[in-house]
C-alpha cells in the first residue's frame, strides 16, 4: 500500500519536475556578461504572449546591441573555438571599455555548444528567443554552422561564423549567414598555387579525412585547383576519423607509386595531424606536406617535432606583423597568459570589430536584427587583423591567404597571396 502511494507520487513528481525545469531553466542559464537577475527579467519578458522577438529588439535599441556567442568549447572543435571565443571576448572588452558601439555598451551572452549540432540549434534558438541576441558569432564546425545558421536565418538574425570556412555557406543557409574567414576554395587554391609556383611541385598525392565537411571540401578544391594550374594528382586515399591512427595502408600506396609525388596534401584536423605527419616521415617520405588552416596549431610542431619540418599550411593572419596585429598579440598574451594557439583567435577578434564597424557605419542607430544584417552585408572595406573583408560579392569574403610552415617546432610565416580561381572551380 505504501509502495503504491510512492509510485503514484513518482508520477506526479515527474510531471511537476518537467514543468518546473521548463520554467526554471531560462533563469538558470545566465550568460557570463549578464547578471542572473537580468536574465530572469528578460526571460519573464519573453514569456509574455506578445511577439517576443520584437520586444527583445526594442529593449536592446535602448541598451545597445546584444551579441550571442555560440562556441564549441568542448568536443572536437574546441581547439579552434576556444581561441576564437577568447579573441572575441578580448575585443568585446576593449570595445566596451572604449564606450561600446555607438556609445552604448554591448551585451554579450555565450554558451558552449559542445561541438554538438543539436546543442548548437537549440542554443541558437535560446540566444535569439530568450536572450534577445541581434547577431550570433562563433557557430562551430561547418555542420554545426549550417544547422545553427539555419535557425538564425529563420529568425532573421545574422550569424558570423569564425571557424567554419565552408564556401557555400550562403547557399546552404541563406543571406543572414556570413563568414569572417575566407572559404576553403580560396585557401586550398592558395596552397596549390604556392606548391606549384614556389615549391615547384608538379605532382601531388592527397589524403583526406572523410568525416567532416571541412576536410572534404578542402581536398576537393585543392585537387581541382592543382590540376587547373597544370599539376597532376597521382591519387587520393581516405580515412575516417573513427579511432583511426594507423596510416600505413595509405603510406604503402604512396610508396608503391611508380614515381614519388612532389608534394603530399593532407586534408585533416589538428588531432590527426601530428600522427599522420609523423608516420609519413617515419616511412621515409620527406617531400613537402601541405594542408589547410586545420593544421594551424603550434601544438602540431610540438607533438610531431622534427617530423613537422617542411609542412606548409594556409592560415588567416601573420602574428609577427607589427601594428594592430602585434598590439592584439600582446593584449591576448596579457589577458590569457598564453600565445594564441592559432589564427582563430584573430578571427574572433575581427568578428567583434566587424560588428562594431558595420553597426556604426551602416545601421543608423537601428539595432533590429534585420538592420544589422543589412549593415553587415554593406561592409566593403573592413580592415581587420586577418585582412580586408568585403561582402559586396557574397557572404564569404575573398581575403588574403597567409602561408606558413613549421620549422624546428615553431610556426614560420612565409608569404601571403590572393589566388585566382575560375568560377567553375567553385562548385
Amino acid at each position: 500500500m505504501k509502495k503504491r502511494i510512492v509510485t503514484y507520487l513518482r508520477g506526479v513528481l515527474t510531471i511537476a519536475l518537467a514543468a518546473a525545469v521548463l520554467t526554471g531553466c531560462g533563469a538558470a542559464n545566465s550568460g557570463s556578461a549578464q547578471t542572473a537577475s537580468a536574465v530572469v527579467d528578460s526571460a519573464a519578458e519573453d514569456s509574455a504572449p506578445a511577439d517576443s522577438q520584437d520586444s527583445a529588439a526594442d529593449a536592446s535599441s535602448e541598451d545597445g546591441i546584444t551579441i550571442g556567442g555560440l562556441w564549441g568549447l568542448t568536443g572536437f572543435i574546441a581547439d579552434y573555438e576556444i581561441p576564437g571565443s577568447e579573441g572575441f571576448e578580448l575585443a568585446l572588452e576593449e570595445i566596451n571599455a572604449a564606450g561600446g558601439i555607438d556609445g552604448k555598451q554591448v551585451n554579450y551572452v555565450s554558451y558552449d555548444a559542445q561541438s554538438d549540432v543539436s546543442q548548437a540549434t537549440s542554443l541558437t534558438t535560446k540566444l535569439v528567443e530568450v536572450d534577445g541576441a541581434n547577431v550570433i558569432v562563433g557557430l562551430g564546425d561547418p555542420n554545426a554552422a549550417i544547422a545553427a545558421g539555419t535557425v538564425a536565418q529563420d529568425h532573421g538574425v545574422p550569424s558570423l561564423a569564425t571557424t567554419s570556412t565552408l564556401p557555400y555557406t550562403q547557399d546552404r543557409v541563406g543571406d543572414t549567414a556570413f563568414l569572417v574567414p575566407y572559404g576553403d576554395n580560396i585557401q586550398a587554391a592558395a596552397v596549390a598555387e604556392y606548391a606549384y609556383n614556389e615549391l615547384g611541385a608538379k605532382t601531388a598525392y592527397v589524403v583526406t579525412d572523410t568525416t567532416d565537411e571541412y576536410t572534404l571540401s578542402l581536398s576537393k578544391f585543392f585537387q581541382s585547383h592543382f590540376i587547373a594550374l597544370g599539376g597532376e594528382v597521382f591519387g587520393e586515399s581516405t580515412y575516417d576519423d573513427n579511432g583511426y591512427t594507423d596510416f600505413s595502408a595509405s603510406i604503402q600506396k604512396v610508396k608503391a607509386l611508380p614515381e614519388s609525388p612532389d608534394v603530399l596534401f593532407f586534408a585533416s584536423f589538428t588531432d590527426q595531424g601530428p600522427t599522420i605527419i609523423k608516420q609519413y616521415r617515419d616511412a621515409g617520405l620527406d617531400q613537402p606536406i601541405l594542408s589547410g588552416d586545420g593544421l594551424d596549431s603550434t601544438e602540431i610542431a610540438e607533438i610531431a617535432g622534427e617530423a613537422a619540418n617542411n609542412v606548409y599550411f594556409s592560415t588567416h593572419v601573420d602574428y609577427t606583423e607589427s601594428g594592430d596585429v602585434s598590439k592584439f598579440y600582446e593584449a591576448y598574451n596579457k589577458k590569457y597568459g598564453k600565445e594564441p594557439l592559432n589564427a582563430f583567435a584573430a578571427l574572433g577578434y575581427d568578428a567583434a570589430y566587424l560588428i562594431k564597424y558595420a553597426v556604426e557605419n551602416y545601421a543608423n542607430g537601428d539595432y533590429s536584427s534585420e538592420s544589422i544584417r543589412d549593415a553587415i552585408a554593406k561592409v566593403t572595406d573592413f580592415k581587420g587583423l586577418t585582412g580586408t573583408i568585403d561582402y559586396s560579392s557574397g557572404n564569404v569574403p575573398n581575403k588574403t591567404v597567409f602561408i606558413c610552415r613549421f620549422n624546428d617546432g615553431k610556426k614560420e610565416n612565409l608569404t601571403s597571396l590572393v589566388p585566382e580561381i575560375s568560377a567553375d572551380e567553385n562548385n
Partner: protein, 294 residues
C-alpha cells in the same frame, strides 16, 4: 613484394597491441563474466599518468612503472566501488555500469587535461629507425613485440605456477567447486583486474610510444576492437585472445592495403561482419571451449 612485407610488419605491430588488450579482457571475463567496456580507457589512464609523471621530470623507466601501478590501482578501485556491489545483479547491469565507468574516465580526463591531443615523448632510443634491407623499422616496433611476448610468458607462468594462478584457473573451470574449495574469490578478482589493467597499461604506453599523440577518447575504439579480437579467438582463452588479435590485425591491414580505396573505407563495417560471422559459425571463437557462463 616490398609492399607485402611492409604490411606484415604493420600487422604484427597492430596485432601485438590488440593482443595485450584482448588478453586483459579475457582474464577479467574468465573470472567475472564481465565485459569491461572501460578496459580500453585504462590504456588512456596509463598514458595520461605517464605523461604527467614525465612532466614532473621523473625518469622514464620509473615513470612507466608508476604509471602501470596507478592504472592497476584505479582498475582495482573501480572494481571495488562500481562492479563488486553488482556481481549478482545480472549481466546487463555490469555492461551498463562498465559503460558508465568508461564515460566517467573519459570525461574526467577531458575535464582535467582538455580534449586536445597531447604528445608522449618517449626517449629518443625508442623512436630510432633501423634500416633492414629496404625497410625502416622503429625500435618501438620491436619493443611492442617484445612487451607482448614477455607479458604472455609471465602470464602463463603466473597461471601455471603460482597459487593465485591456480585459483584463477579453478574459478574459470568450475566456479562453484572453487567456492567449495574455499578459494578466496575476492582476492582472485582483484588479481584478475590487476593483471588485466597492467596489460592494458602496457598496451597504451607502447601504442602511444609508436603513434605519439593521445587524447581522452583514445582507448574506447581500441577497446572495442580488442574485444572483437578476444571474441574471434575465444573469450576466456588467453591463447585464443592472442590469436584473435593477430587474425584481426592481419585482416584489417591487408583489407586496407590491398583493396581499392572505395571499398577499403568500409573497413569498420568489415570488422563487424567478421565478428558476426564468427559468432554464427563458431560462437565460442576459434579456440574457445564452451563458454562457462550461459
Amino acid at each position: 613484394m616490398n609492399f607485402f612485407i611492409a604490411e606484415i610488419i604493420n600487422a604484427i605491430k597492430l596485432g601485438s597491441i590488440y593482443a595485450l588488450i584482448a588478453i586483459g579482457y579475457s582474464i577479467v571475463y574468465s573470472i567475472l563474466g564481465l565485459i569491461n567496456f572501460a578496459h580500453g580507457d585504462l590504456m588512456m589512464v596509463a598514458v595520461y599518468s605517464l605523461w604527467v609523471l614525465m612532466n614532473l621530470k621523473i625518469p622514464f623507466a620509473l615513470a612507466v612503472i608508476l604509471a602501470v601501478i596507478i592504472t592497476m590501482l584505479l582498475a582495482i578501485i573501480t572494481e571495488r566501488v562500481a562492479y563488486r556491489p553488482l556481481l549478482n545483479n545480472g549481466e546487463e547491469t555490469l555492461i551498463i555500469t562498465s559503460l558508465a565507468v568508461s564515460i566517467l574516465l573519459q570525461s574526467i580526463s577531458q575535464a582535467v587535461f582538455g580534449i586536445d591531443n597531447k604528445a608522449l615523448k618517449v626517449p629518443v632510443f625508442f623512436t630510432k629507425r633501423i634500416q633492414i634491407a629496404d625497410f625502416t623499422v622503429s625500435v618501438m616496433n620491436f619493443v611492442i613485440l617484445a612487451v607482448t611476448i614477455v607479458s604472455v610468458i609471465v602470464l602463463a607462468f603466473i597461471l601455471k605456477k603460482t597459487r593465485i594462478g591456480l585459483a584463477m584457473r579453478a574459478i574459470k573451470d568450475n566456479s562453484l567447486a572453487a567456492d567449495f574449495m574455499g578459494i578466496n574469490r575476492k582476492a582472485v578478482i582483484v588479481a584478475a583486474f590487476g593483471i588485466g589493467s597492467a596489460l592494458a597499461a602496457l598496451a597504451g604506453i607502447t601504442y602511444t610510444g609508436e603513434y605519439v599523440s593521445f587524447d581522452p577518447q583514445m582507448g574506447f575504439m581500441l577497446g572495442i576492437k580488442a574485444f572483437i579480437a578476444a571474441v574471434i579467438g575465444g573469450l576466456g582463452s588467453i591463447t585464443g585472445a592472442a590469436l584473435g588479435a593477430f587474425v584481426l590485425a592481419f585482416l584489417e591491414i591487408f583489407f586496407a592495403g590491398y583493396l581499392p580505396d572505395s571499398i577499403a573505407s568500409y573497413q569498420t563495417v568489415f570488422v563487424f561482419l567478421i565478428l558476426i560471422l564468427v559468432l554464427l559459425v563458431r560462437p565460442d571463437g576459434l579456440l574457445g571451449k564452451n563458454a562457462k557462463r550461459s
